[in-house]
């Protein structure tokens, strides 16, 4: 019997995370929301398996048709299958959400927060001031400005890599688009997380157990990542779950303006932008072909709604007193 199982025996056989999961599952609405989110993401991940058409395949003989047996959600202006484009659009959302989360809020935000909170002094001051300048910018404008300016640079870079190496298809595969969106969302995604982690670390750095670790000569990275980080995990999870809906929405806004994912690759934002002619034709589309607008919108709607419910529930589960 190893030490881990001994401690969990002592605690009454249920680990902290089992307890959290049990409390979460008791919240019916939140549990259903999590299931819905999982199903949506799963649809995106297995898009190649469940598509009924090719997402680029046009059918001039059958444009702007309502749902039927062949096209479950109807066809768009070019006769493309809307159902197929929606599931591929979800895949785009999944990829962008994952990259933005991992690079931006998790990697940058958490590391910066740990450093600012633990070292304080000038490191803290520099990180905080940079964050303040960035957050003084109007959000959407900054995202659009970054995407509009950096896109050509990043495309250029990718072309150069393609030319000098044997790698092909960097630009056409959409990797570049993900990179552009990821970079554009970066300044927004890290600061909130960084402030959260910083606050937690400030409270913990003088805790007795950290002092004890320091006293026996534990190295600083080890203190940060082994002793402090695990105690910051729950607020990070709550904050991430609230932020995911916003990431999905940002991709939609960027692609809506033609700055994010580029056609022919489908994304929910591209679909909304194309069908409404960048907003101009929204009303007539909603009146005449509601399914073309609603199909991508309902996915975004569900994602934002469900993640908020999940975030609320996690918040309650992790901080049972703060209600």
């Amino acid at each position: 019997m190893n030490t881990d199982s001994v401690t969990s025996e002592l605690r009454g056989s249920r680990s902290h995370w089992q307890q959290v999961w049990a409390n979460f599952r008791r919240r019916r609405l939140a549990f259903i929301s999590l299931v819905i989110v999982a199903i949506i993401y799963l649809l995106g991940i297995i898009a190649p398996l469940i598509q009924t058409h090719d997402y680029q395949e046009t059918n001039i003989g059958k444009t702007q048709q309502g749902p039927d047996n062949e096209n479950w959600l109807g066809t768009d202006r070019l006769g493309r299958d809307i159902y197929t484009r929606v599931v591929w659009g979800i895949q785009t959302t999944v990829i962008i959400t994952a990259t933005t989360l991992i690079t931006g809020s998790l990697f940058l935000g958490v590391t910066m927060g740990l450093m600012a909170g633990y070292f304080r002094g000038w490191i803290d001051a520099v990180i905080m001031r940079i964050g303040e300048v960035i957050s003084a910018f109007p959000d959407i404008l900054l995202i659009i400005l970054l995407a509009a300016t950096l896109r050509p640079k990043i495309v250029e870079l990718a072309r150069a890599i393609e030319d000098s190496t044997n790698i092909t298809g960097l630009v056409s595969s959409g990797v570049v688009d993900y990179l552009v969106i990821g970079v554009a969302l970066l300044p927004l995604s890290w600061f909130g997380m960084m402030r959260l982690v910083r606050g937690q670390v400030l409270a913990l750095r003088d805790a007795e157990y950290v002092e004890a670790a320091r006293a026996i000569g534990t190295s600083t990275p080890r203190i940060l990542f082994r002793h402090i980080l695990p105690n910051v995990v729950s607020p990070v999870i709550v904050s991430v779950s609230f932020g995911i809906g916003a990431i999905a929405l940002s991709e939609v806004v960027l692609s809506f303006f033609g700055l994010g994912v580029q056609p022919p690759r489908p994304s929910l934002g591209v679909m909304i932008g194309e069908v409404t002619a960048r907003g101009g034709a929204s009303v007539s589309v909603l009146r005449d072909h509601p399914e073309q607008l609603l199909a991508p919108i309902i996915v975004v709607w569900l994602l934002i709604f469900c993640w908020n419910i999940v975030g609320d529930a996690l918040n309650d589960v992790f901080n049972p007193r703060a209600r």
């Binding site: 609405l29 303040e132 300048v133 957050s135 003084a136 910018f137 109007p138 959000d139 959407i140 404008l141 659009i144 400005l145 970054l146 509009a148 300016t149 950096l150 050509p152 640079k153 809906g245 929405l249 939609v252 806004v253 809506f256 303006f257 909304i272 409404t276 960048r278 907003g279 101009g280 929204s282 009303v283 589309v285 909603l286 009146r287 607008l293 609603l294 919108i297 975004v300 709607w301 569900l302 934002i304 709604f305 908020n308 419910i309 209600r323």
Partner: protein
């Protein structure tokens, strides 16, 4: 507290200088030459070069930046690259007025729906009404504006003919109703959440029990003791709503055809109109910073227990 305010006020210009530099830097990284964009494809290289010289684009970045700051301090924000002969100030001024009015109208919607509903939900805690209000507001909050805007137009303007579908005619015309609802309803959802939370917090306080114990009427307790104190934390939100004029209502301005600053900034980004963009970013940042400061100061006046440090 004076030291705190002074320190914040001294940091503000530095922050604005950095923000302006960032936009300038983006301007040099950005593809597309403003002079070429303005003259079109068939312009000769000589003409493009002459215009570049005229606009001062041939000077190095630090010099252009210093010149801009120097002029800005004198109140001159320069001329637009795109609209010939128009000063940046004359472009932004009227549009800013439009956006401010739109956001005031939207804030009125958000507050008048959000505060009472949040208060009511808190009073009904433990019944089914409370979660019902919260969930329905969350559904409205999550609703993408790409749907809300055309839906409201379709229903209230096209079907019922109650209000005009689009356009702008000032804050006191019927045209403001739909865009104000589109921005205000998600805003109301946020106010409901916070008002409910802070009302619950206040209800549990000792002084409410005291008030009840000395036999005050429910009405007085609810409105003078609970609602007033619960409103305090909401103040922060209100400041940010008003400061969020720049960009926050971008898609709404687009769909309803409202000539506001969000629209202008989008055009400026796409047309590489960097003088206009820099000015807009400066204004937006300034408003955000000032809103923050005013809220901090307002707190200490409303609630004397808070001391800034």
């Amino acid at each position: 507290m004076l030291v705190y305010i002074l320190r914040r006020l001294l940091w503000t210009p530095v922050l604005l200088l950095l923000a302006a530099f960032f936009v300038f830097f983006m301007g040099t990284v950005a593809p597309g030459d403003p002079a070429e964009l303005r003259l079109g494809n068939r312009a000769t290289p000589e003409r493009v070069d002459r215009l570049r010289e005229q606009l001062g684009l041939n000077d190095p970045l630090p010099i252009r930046y210093m010149r801009f700051i120097g002029n800005a301090l004198k109140g001159d924000l320069g001329e637009s690259y795109v609209f010939q002969g128009k000063t940046v100030t004359s472009l932004i001024g009227p549009r800013l007025l439009v956006s401010v009015q739109l956001n005031i109208a939207a804030s009125i919607v958000a507050l008048s729906v959000g505060l009472p509903l949040g208060f009511y939900a808190a009073k009904r805690q433990g019944t089914k009404t409370d979660p019902a209000i919260l969930i329905s507001m969350l559904i409205l909050y999550a609703m993408p504006v790409f749907f809300t805007a055309p839906f409201l137009i379709l229903f209230f303007a096209v079907k019922l003919h109650w209000v005009p579908a689009s356009g702008w005619n000032g804050m006191f015309s019927t045209q403001v109703i739909l865009p104000a609802l589109t921005i205000g309803i998600p805003g109301a959802a946020i106010f409901v959440r916070h008002m409910r939370a802070s009302t619950l917090e206040v209800i549990g306080q000792e002084y409410i029990r005291t008030a009840r114990a000395k036999g005050m009427s429910n009405f007085v307790i609810n409105y003078r003791h609970v609602a007033r104190n619960a409103f305090l934390p909401i103040l922060t939100l209100l400041g940010f709503t008003l400061a969020g004029i720049f960009g926050g209502s971008l898609i709404v301005e687009l769909i309803y055809g409202i000539p506001g600053v969000s629209r202008l900034s989008l055009d400026a980004i796409f047309q590489r109109d960097f003088p206009v963009l820099t000015a807009l970013v400066l204004l937006g940042s300034l408003m955000l910073v000032l809103a923050n400061l005013i809220i901090d100061i307002a707190y200490t006046i409303i609630d004397p227990r808070i001391r800034l440090k």
